[in-house]
């Protein structure tokens, strides 16, 4: 059986994330895959993410009031998409949501409100009972080109563990065969800033490319037991945009940085012909990982992102990606040791004689020149 996938978030103009952080942890330890969108998120962003992630339910933690209106807006927005099955809504807000409020919200289509003092176990139990046997069938071809169609294709690929789909599930070929997506893979140790780099690259893409051009992100996070906390969306700013299709993928037991269904999902994204660029982000990887393959690479360009503090020159020799990456980026280059890192990495890759690119970036800085340069190198 596959894990229940849900999306959790805190509504717009609300930063109370203490409760949801605790609840998220409880969910994932009980085998649920949680895509966490973060706090201060609009209904529009939440619905877009829920559809792209093809979750069965959305859970909201709200403490700043206005919950009736906010849930209402979610219901309205979800209804417009004619989702099958409909995405369920649940939530809580301590004592701020009264029983009378809940009645109004139930009447509008909200599935369940948890009141103050509800034990965490009870929430888990409810989720497992209510959302475990939701059947997600392929959408009708009338939906081709929509995010929900694409998202469901990926869900099906995941549930087949990456096996080749039945003929009936394949996507019809595009009438625009010339348009081919460029796949850019980003890998590197955990916490190095891969997600931030992608978000900044997306910003530059959105600004420099025509309005009708889109970008996709396939972002991996590790499974913990059978659950997973997929939190990359929460730190993204510019990728909360209709021109971006993002999918968070749990590794579900596969080692090496990707999931068993990654290549199928990637194929679906490429063949949809909806995207100019596809970013493929691995989980935080170790020294031996070559996640995109060596000879027959999954990606057109492989980027290795490194922090300035990797523990010395000798450690560099052990990192296999240095021999495979097209571009190496030293991120967080404002930190101590960045110059040494650049020098040491340069001598590490020089012997490869492959003309690999080496750049320094500070992705958390607005309008960082290093990220501009990386964008030019990858997409210019």
């Amino acid at each position: 059986m596959h894990p229940i996938r849900i999306l959790t978030a805190v509504p717009i103009c609300d930063g109370h994330d203490s409760a949801i952080n605790t609840i998220n942890l409880e969910f994932i330890h009980h085998g649920i895959e949680v895509i966490y969108l973060g706090y201060h998120r609009s209904a529009k962003d939440i619905v877009r993410a829920a559809i792209q992630e093809d979750v069965v339910a959305i859970g909201l933690s709200t403490y700043n009031g206005g919950h009736i209106e906010f849930f209402d807006e979610l219901v309205d927005r979800l209804e417009k998409h004619r989702l099958a099955p409909p995405i369920k809504l649940f939530g809580g807000g301590g004592g701020t949501i009264t029983h009378e409020d809940a009645e109004i919200m139930y009447a509008r289509g909200v599935d369940r409100i948890f009141f103050a003092g509800t034990p965490l176990e009870e929430m888990v139990k409810y989720l497992k009972a209510a959302y475990c046997d939701v059947i997600q069938s392929p959408y009708d071809f009338a939906f081709v080109g929509s995010d929900q169609f694409l998202a469901r294709q990926i869900t099906l690929a995941e549930s087949r563990n990456g096996c080749v789909p039945e003929a009936s599930e394949t996507v019809p070929t595009s009438n625009n065969p010339d348009r081919t997506a460029k796949v850019i893979g980003l890998t590197g140790p955990g916490g190095v800033g891969k997600t931030t780099l992608i978000d900044e690259l997306v910003l530059r893409f959105l600004r420099s490319h025509p309005e009708d051009q889109r970008v996709a992100i396939l972002s991996h996070d590790p499974s913990i037991g059978s659950g997973a906390l997929l939190g990359d969306r929460a730190t993204m700013i510019y990728s909360q945009n209709d021109r971006v299709f993002m999918r968070s993928v749990a590794t579900r037991g596969m080692m090496g940085g990707l999931s068993v269904s990654t290549s199928q999902s990637l194929k679906i994204l490429i063949e949809s012909n909806l995207f100019e660029i596809i970013f493929l982000e691995t989980v935080g990887t170790g020294q031996e990982a070559i996640p995109f393959g060596n000879e027959e690479s999954l990606v057109d360009k492989a980027v290795l992102v490194m922090p300035p503090d990797y523990g010395g020159r000798l450690q560099l020799q052990k990192i296999a990606m240095f021999d495979v990456a097209d571009v190496i980026v030293v991120n967080k280059s404002d930190l101590r040791g960045a110059r040494t890192a650049l020098a040491e990495i340069e001598s590490r890759i020089r012997t490869n004689r492959k003309g690999q690119g080496l750049l320094r970036t500070q992705a958390n800085r607005h309008r960082d020149a290093g990220v501009d340069e990386l964008f030019e190198l990858l997409l210019g």
Partner: protein
């Protein structure tokens, strides 16, 4: 070593200094005699209070010691009220009723600072539109000698989002007051004589603080003339570091946020000499789940990080130092018996010995709020007792101002009824009871309080050492250190409550099976009011359409050229709304990337 490392060093040094002084007072006869002489002089200065029951008492209770070593220990390690290291109190005669005419001795002490005569009550309020909150302010302060207003803003305002923005309609005026323009700001404090010394205004806002503060100044100028700046008294929270660590209401990235803050502090230190342009806050850190020690350690270290930042910009510590203020949570954990006292001491040592601040810069001026997190929905009237106890602890720690929570806060913005009980709790403690009004230092100094104080002090320094190892406050923030520690503590706390390890009466112990849901009147902002706010904003923007673009361009230029952004904002707000300004600033400096 960062400046925090130097603070650790200074605090350790100070401990050695205290031990040396004690030893010297005992072994060096001449020095010992000097100490005894000082002690006699201090005792002679103390006035006398006659209680209503006719009992004469000194206005300051000193420890009952006559041995030079112990006297030296008290004077150095704790200090008289208003004297370094300020463990006992920031000022002399806090909370005391004015001296009776018959008081003997030198009465100078009580008049040293006018602030001591102010009651500490400062109740946090904000809901609906500006006029609703204004009416609540008038109601809450109607019996007070001094009008001490404290403003809560709604979600859209806290995030710098206009009331007309997509998807925020439901949030308008919920949990705080909706402010979009300088005109809203005028309505908010209408009828209060902001230029008078007995009125002070506090604004709980951080992300867009410089913009709201500029609106306040502009609104005050409209009513009281262009020279009103130096007369205005109050505080704006503006604590961006704790937003990153706990409260999540930051708009711009850390670097520009610090720069805008420094611009405001710089301006206010010069032009608004009675204003506190920052309130370094642990409240939200504690509410997010931090332990008391974590709250104290992160708040103090954030404070030192600000001082370091301002100093590196060339600002003078003795100019901005006295304008820094603090805000702590007070819950029911035993650490709160001494937490704020220890904070005052560590701050004073750091400011004196690391940053060379003078006496005014050394004093940690504190606002305390009782713990909102400790209040629960189950059997909710127990919250009255919880708040009363926390209030007692806050006063035992000699807080300079205090907000006591309303018992109905787990459900709603405080109703007028429970806000009144909350205010009265303070009056009962400080005016009705004799515990605080006759004598300073009535309750501190017990063996237990000292033991807890010492343990807390060491634990705070240990947290400092961890932060220092990660490259100081900013380095630790980038490694998510404080955030993850706070979250881990919060998770543990919830677990302990669910497991019953932490008794919460009415929730996991002595649960009342009969009670289902309390009958509390919820205060909600009606739809019509929300629409009115949108209409007002729309009308303002339309009326100023001609000037707003030009003003925003001017603002952009100041940001790009490195000028004082706050000074420019005081002009921008005349023609631009909060949402317009935030949007423009985000275009130039980017948006804060959320940490999770």
């Amino acid at each position: 070593m960062t400046s925090l490392g130097q603070v650790i060093f200074a605090a350790e040094n100070y401990r050695r200094f205290v031990s040396e002084q004690v030893l010297k007072a005992r072994t060096d006869a001449e020095f010992g005699e000097k100490v005894l002489q000082r002690w006699r002089e201090e005792k002679a200065k103390i006035g006398v209070t006659i209680t209503p029951t006719g009992l004469p008492l000194p206005r300051l209770a000193l420890p009952d010691v006559d041995e030079p070593g112990e006297i030296a220990r008290f004077l150095c390690a704790e200090g008289l009220p208003g004297e370094f290291p300020f463990l006992t109190a920031a000022y002399p005669e806090q909370y005391l009723e004015p001296a009776a005419t018959a008081s003997k001795g030198n009465g100078n002490r009580q008049n040293e600072d006018t602030r001591v005569s102010e009651e500490p009550t400062r109740l946090f309020a904000g809901f609906g539109l500006a006029e609703d909150t204004n009416a609540r302010f008038h109601y809450l302060s109607r019996n007070q000698r001094s009008k001490r207003l404290s403003t809560a803003f709604d979600g859209p305002t806290l995030y710098g989002v206009g009331a007309g923005a997509d998807g925020v309609f439901g949030k308008i005026g919920e949990g705080g007051v909706a402010i979009d323009t300088v005109e809203d700001m005028e309505r908010l404090y209408a009828g209060f004589e902001l230029d008078q010394p007995d009125v002070s205004v506090s604004m709980t806002i951080s992300g867009p603080a410089p913009i709201l503060m500029a609106m306040y100044l502009a609104a005050a100028k409209r009513r009281f003339g262009p020279d009103v700046g130096p007369k205005l008294r109050g505080t704006v929270q503006a604590d961006v570091l704790k937003e990153v660590q706990a409260q999540n209401e930051l708009i711009f990235p850390i670097e520009p946020s610090l720069r805008f803050l420094a611009d405001m502090v710089d301006y206010c230190s010069g032009e608004m000499s009675r204003w506190y342009p920052i309130s370094i806050s642990g409240y939200h850190i504690a509410e997010a789940g931090a332990t008391p020690v974590q709250q104290a350690a992160y708040t103090l270290s954030n404070g030192f990080a600000y001082v370091d930042y301002f100093r590196n910009r060339g600002m003078e510590v003795n100019v901005f130092g006295p304008r820094l203020s603090f805000f702590l949570d007070c819950g029911l954990d035993v650490e709160y018996l001494a937490l704020a006292r220890v904070c005052r001491k560590i701050w004073a040592i750091g400011m004196r010995d690391v940053f060379a601040g003078d006496k005014r810069a050394q004093i940690l001026k504190l606002h305390t709020q009782t713990s909102g997190r400790s209040l629960i929905a189950a059997d909710w009237r127990n919250n009255l007792t919880r708040t009363a106890l926390e209030l007692m602890l806050a006063c035992m720690n000699a807080t300079n101002s205090c907000h006591s929570n309303s018992a109905d806060e787990p459900f709603t913005t405080p109703s007028a009824e429970y806000a009144r009980y909350a205010a009265h709790a303070q009056a009962i403690l400080l005016e009705e009871s004799g515990l605080f009004k006759h004598m300073m230092n009535t309750l501190p100094g017990s063996p237990g309080m000292k033991v807890i104080g010492n343990a807390v002090e060491e634990a705070i320094l240990e947290e400092f050492r961890e932060i220092e190892q990660q490259g100081g406050v900013i380095g630790a923030i980038e490694r998510r250190y404080q955030r993850s520690q706070i979250q881990a503590s919060g998770h543990k706390l919830e677990r302990q409550i669910y497991d019953g390890v932490r008794p919460v009466i009415g929730l996991n112990r002595y649960k009342d099976p009969a009670e289902d849901w309390p009958e509390v009147s919820m205060s909600r902002t009606p739809k019509e009011k929300k629409q009115l706010q949108q209409e007002r904003l729309h009308a303002f923007e339309k009326r100023h359409a001609k000037e707003s673009e030009r003003c925003l361009d001017r603002l952009s230029n100041v940001v790009e050229s490195g000028g004082n952004v706050f000074e420019e904002l005081t002009l921008t707000v005349e023609h631009c709304s909060l949402g317009q300004i935030t949007e423009r600033l985000c275009e130039i400096v980017g948006k804060f990337r959320p940490m999770v």
